[in-house]
């Protein structure tokens, strides 16, 4: 028997953070079989330039030992000049010494996860899919105090 059933197919997949993204005003588009929050009705790019933004990237393919773990994990990208400051509020990981490309297994808000360092102001957090709602709340709570906002994936290309 193959493990084909582990890979999302045949219906639109939903992130565990979709409801919170929708409540925050997200506009969704179906991309690669996932309902993806692409845009919010607030100044996303300004936040990414001046404070920080978080984007739900749970739709990104994730593999472990050749097995598709895309649906086992959810992912949030934290980007912007205050992204390290934001992450420091719910994780003890020291990102100052990290370099782009580093993957660090860390505790995120007291749950097992990992940080992929994309750049000095851009970090991808990976954590258990079932913890998505909790993680959005933690990041939103910490981010709100820093002026960070949720951002859509389309704001990340700029």
């Amino acid at each position: 028997m193959t493990l084909e059933f582990l890979t999302p197919s045949g219906a639109v997949a939903h992130s565990p953070m979709e409801r919170q993204a929708r409540a925050a005003g997200a506009r969704f588009e179906v991309r690669d079989g996932w309902n993806v929050a692409v845009e919010y009705p607030h100044p996303e790019r300004q936040a990414l330039r001046e404070t920080a933004g978080w984007a739900d990237l749970s739709h990104l393919p994730k593999f472990e030992d050749g097995v598709d773990m895309t649906c086992a994990y959810a992912a949030l990208l934290i980007a912007g000049p205050l992204s390290r400051e934001l992450i420091a509020r719910f994780s003890a990981v020291d990102l100052r010494a990290s370099a782009p490309g580093d993957v660090m297994p860390v505790s995120i808000a007291r749950t097992p996860g990992a940080v992929l360092v994309q750049d000095t102001d851009r970090y991808l957090l990976r954590f258990g899919a079932a913890l998505g709602e909790y993680m959005w709340e933690v990041v939103g709570d910490a981010g709100g105090r820093l002026g960070a906002v949720p951002v859509g994936v389309d704001s990340l290309d700029a």
Binding site: M1, T2, E4, F5, L6, T7, P8, S9, G10, A11, V12, A13, H14, S15, P16, W34, S58, T70, C71, A72, A129, A130
Partner: protein
């Protein structure tokens, strides 16, 4: 699903979603288990509810599941067993295949356990007076209740308990101590519901 027999497994598309489809029967009725990517849970749930609506399909909760499985004497590992339990004591020696050519986790321990008759046995019991003993209640002189439920379907209070192996026979009276009082129960080694497994395999 034609030709999917009890305990068969196969990959199948359900509501357009590729699932691992298992025919199992934890609750003792004809049943299937669907495994699928978590992110597709909502569309699959919606499709099942819509397709089942004309047939009276309803979701059911864990409490119902636990009672129904107890009627079948299907164990919950960790509730009805602990780290000292073996499949031999838990009345499921059939599940161990020591003639397998491959090695497997626990083989050494099971080979040793298979050679010694277990001191304790997991059995079903039925309360004489309708009292639901607390899980963890002591079975005198040596044992404990691991599960107990009032079954509306059977009209009885049933459960699972570890008892001395010599007491594991149908109709044997056992004494359960709960909250400082003693209660009488009767041992049942066969499932309370569908003991022949006709519903499950039918």
């Amino acid at each position: 699903v034609p030709a999917l027999e009890y305990l068969d497994a196969r990959q199948a598309r359900v509501a357009g979603i590729t699932c691992l489809l298992l025919r199992i029967g934890f609750v003792g009725e004809l049943g299937y288990e669907l495994h699928f990517p978590a992110a597709l849970g909502e569309p699959l749930w919606d499709a099942l509810i819509a397709a089942g609506e004309p047939h009276g399909l309803k979701p059911f909760g864990l409490e119902a599941q636990r009672l129904l499985r107890a009627q079948k004497q299907h164990i919950i590992v960790g509730q009805d067993t602990d780290s000292e339990s073996t499949p031999y004591g838990a009345a499921m020696p059939w599940i161990v295949k020591l003639d397998k050519p491959q090695d497997f986790v626990g083989r050494w321990a099971l080979e040793h356990a298979a050679g010694e008759p277990p001191a304790a046995a997991l059995v079903g019991f039925e309360m004489a007076d309708g009292h639901v003993p607390a899980e963890g209640s002591v079975v005198l002189p040596d044992g404990q209740v691991t599960s107990a439920y009032r079954s509306p379907q059977l009209g009885r209070v049933i459960g699972l308990a570890w008892v001395p192996a010599a007491h594991a026979e149908d109709g044997r009276t056992i004494t359960i101590s709960d909250g400082g009082r003693r209660y009488t129960a009767t041992v049942a080694t066969k499932p309370f519901y569908d003991p022949e497994g006709k519903v499950l395999r039918g």
